[in-house]
Symmetry: C2
Subunit: 144 residues, 2 copies
Amino acid sequence: MDIAMEEARAAAARGEVPVGAALAGPGGRLLARAGNRVEACHDPSAHAEMQVMRAATRLRGGARLVDCTLYVTLEPCPMCAAAAIHFRMGRIVFGAYDPKGGGVEHGPRLFTHPRCLHRPETVGGVREREAGTLLQDFFRQLRA
Amino acid sequence: MDIAMEEARAAAARGEVPVGAALAGPGGRLLARAGNRVEACHDPSAHAEMQVMRAATRLRGGARLVDCTLYVTLEPCPMCAAAAIHFRMGRIVFGAYDPKGGGVEHGPRLFTHPRCLHRPETVGGVREREAGTLLQDFFRQLRA
C-alpha cells in the first residue's frame, strides 16, 4: 500500500485525481505500479487499477491474476471492479471507501451480484484516512 | 453495424471470441473500429468496445463521446457498460443480447442504477440473429 500511496501522490502532482495502485504477485513481488492517468493519456479508462492489471497480465503472458493482490488507494469504480472479474484478480486491498463512485461496497456492488463469475477477496478501509485526505485536499485545491 | 460485423468476423478468424465494434462521430463519420483482442493482446480488458472508445477519445484529444454512437455486435458486459459512462458515450446500438454476461439489459443493468452519472441511449437487438449466430458458431467449433 506504500507504493500505491506514492503513486497517488505522484498523480496529484501531475494534476490527476490522486488514486494509485500496485499489483503484487505470489510472495509479494511487485508486478506493476501506476497512478491515475486519465488526463495525461486522454483516456477516461486509464484508472490506476486498469493500468496495473493490464501491465501485470501482459508481463505474465496472459495468465490471469488469481494468485495476485491489487492494492489501490480508493474503492474501485464499477468499471475497474468488473475488469477485476475478467482479470480473475485474487485479492483487492483498498484504502478509502467511495460511496458515490465505488462499485465494490457501494453502487452496483459487482462482486456480490448473482451473475458474478469470479469474486476477488476484498479488504477495504486500509489506511483509509490517509488515502481519503489526499483526495479531499486535491478537490479542495481544485475548488479554491 | 456493417463494420462492427466485419470486425466480429475478423476476430473469429484470429481465434478471438467474435465481437466487433465501430464508433461513429457526428454525421456518422467513422472514428474507430476494432474487434475483440483479448488473446492477441494478453489483455482481458481488450474488448472491442473498450478499444474503440479509447481510440476515439484519443483521436479527439480527450473530448468525451456524448455526440457519438457505439455500434457493437453483442450487449456490452459490465466493464464496458461502466466504461461507457466514464467516456460519456451518447448512444449504444448493440446486436445480440447477452443474458449471462451482459451489463446493460442483464446482470447489474448499470445504466438504470440510481448511482449512474450518465445514461447512454441504448438500442438492442439490431441484427441480433446474425450477431448471435456468429457467436454460437464460434463456440460450437471450439467444443467440436
